[in-house]
Amino acid sequence: MRNAVLGFIAIIAVSLAVSARGQNAQQRQGQRTAPQGQAQGGAPSPQSEQGRLPARLSGEFTPLAKPDIANGPVPRMPDGHPDLSGPWVGGGSNSDIEKDGGLKPGELPLLPWAKQLRESRKEEDEPYLYCTPMSVPRVNPYPWRFVQSVTANGLGTIYVIHENGDAGGVRKIFMDGRKHPPADELLPTWWGHSIGRWEGDTLVIDTVGYNDKFWFDSRGTPHTTQLHTIERWTRTNFGTMINEFTLDDPGALEHPVQLKFTAHAQPPGSELMEFICTENNQYGVAADIPNIYREKGYGLEVQPPTQK
C-alpha cells in the first residue's frame, strides 16, 4: 500500500515537472502553427452543440493536439505498455448515451420502466449540475487522465483523474489481479469497483458496484445498481483513444449493448487545472430552477419493478 501511494506521488510529480516544461513549448508551437491549424478545421467534438446556445464566452474550451501530432505514434511506458496518460477530452457519453455511443434512435434496449423514467427526467435536474461525480462512461468538456502508477511490485493501481467530474472521488482501477468483492459485500458507490488488465495493447476495465445516483447523459438515461460495465481502451495513435464499451444492466436493459466512444488527446505539455465545482455554483438561479434533490438526495426517482 505504501509503495502504491509512493508510486502515485512519483507519477504526479513527474507529470507536474513535464507539464511545467511543456507549457512554453506549447505556446510557441501554437503561434508557429496557427494558420495551418486554422485551415485544418476542428477535430471531432465529443459533445453535441445541437439545441444549445452559442458556446463562446459562456462555453468551454479545451485545445486538442493538432493533426500532425495527433497522427503520430502511440507513446509507450518503460514496460512497453501504451502510455494512456493523456490528457484526454471525451471518450464517453454526454448528451445522449444512445447517440454518443453510436446507436440509432431507439436502439438502446431500455426496459419499459427505464424508458419511462428517462422520458420523465428533465435536463435541468441533472445531478451533475449540483457537482456530483459524473461516473462511467460520462465525459464533459474538461480534460482527464489515466495515471498509470508503478510500484516496487510492478504495475500498480491506475487512477482516473478528471479536471472536473470526480467531485472528490478518485476512480481506482486495480491492476493486481484481484477479483470483485462478493456482491453482498459491495457498498454501491459513484465510481464502483474497477479491476483492470492488459490484453495486448488494450486496457480492459471491468466495473461493478455502482450506485444508481448518476445519469449517463443530460437526457436522463437511467441505470440500476446492477450496472456492469466493461471498457476496452485502445490508443490507436498519439491523438486518439477508442473506448469499446459494453453496457450491461439487467435491471434497466433488456440485454447488454455494445457502444463506442473516442477520446482525443490534448497537445503535448497540457495539464489538468484545479477545479473545485462547489466553490461558487449558482446553477439554477437565473432560471429559478429548484434543486429537487435537496430533501430526498440523489438516486432513482422511480424504483424498477424488480426492486419493489
Binding site: 458556446a55 448528451s95 441533472e126 457537482c131 472536473n164 437565473a286
Partner: protein, 145 residues
C-alpha cells in the same frame, strides 16, 4: 499588451482544433437565446470561480439608476486556456458586454462577448458565426428589442 495579443491570437487560432462544447450545463436550460442583452459599465467584481467564472458589471442609465449585471462565463480554466489572464479583468475598469439573459432573471446573463476600454474584445475573435455585432446596439444594460 503585445504579449497578450500574441497569446490571444494563438488561442484563437487553436480554436479550430479545440473541443468547444457546452459548459458545465446546457445554457438553454438557464438562459434564453431570444433574450440578447448588452450594456456598457464598470466591472464591480470578478469571480474566477468554479464551476463558472462571473463578472459583475454596474451599468448606469441616463437617470442615474445602477443595474448590476451578473455575467456567467465558462470555467476559469477554460477562459485561461483561451488566452485570458486574471489581470485582463480589473475591478473598476470600463467594459462592454453582450450576452443572453436568464430565463427568469434577466440581469443574470450568459456572457457572449466582453470588450475592454482599450478595444480588446474577448470571444468575438474566435470567428464563430453567431452573435455578430450587428445584432447588438450600445446602451446601459438593457434587453435588445
Amino acid at each position: 499588451m503585445k504579449t497578450t495579443v500574441g497569446i490571444l491570437a494563438a488561442a484563437f487560432a487553436l480554436f479550430g482544433l479545440a473541443a468547444p462544447s457546452a459548459a458545465h450545463h446546457s445554457f438553454a436550460v438557464e438562459y434564453d437565446k431570444e433574450k440578447p442583452v448588452q450594456g456598457t459599465g464598470v466591472i464591480s467584481k470578478v469571480e474566477w470561480t468554479n464551476p463558472h467564472m462571473r463578472v459583475y458589471i454596474d451599468c448606469t442609465d441616463e437617470k442615474g439608476v445602477v443595474t448590476t449585471w451578473n455575467l456567467e462565463l465558462g470555467s476559469p480554466n477554460s477562459v485561461i486556456r483561451r488566452g485570458w489572464k486574471p489581470s485582463d479583468l480589473k475591478q473598476g475598469a470600463k467594459i462592454s458586454f453582450k450576452g443572453f439573459g436568464g430565463r427568469k432573471v434577466l440581469t443574470r446573463a450568459a456572457a457572449d462577448v466582453l470588450t475592454l476600454a482599450d478595444g480588446r474584445s474577448f470571444a468575438g475573435a474566435s470567428g464563430a458565426p453567431d452573435g455578430t455585432p450587428e445584432q447588438y446596439g450600445v446602451g446601459a444594460g438593457v434587453p435588445i428589442p
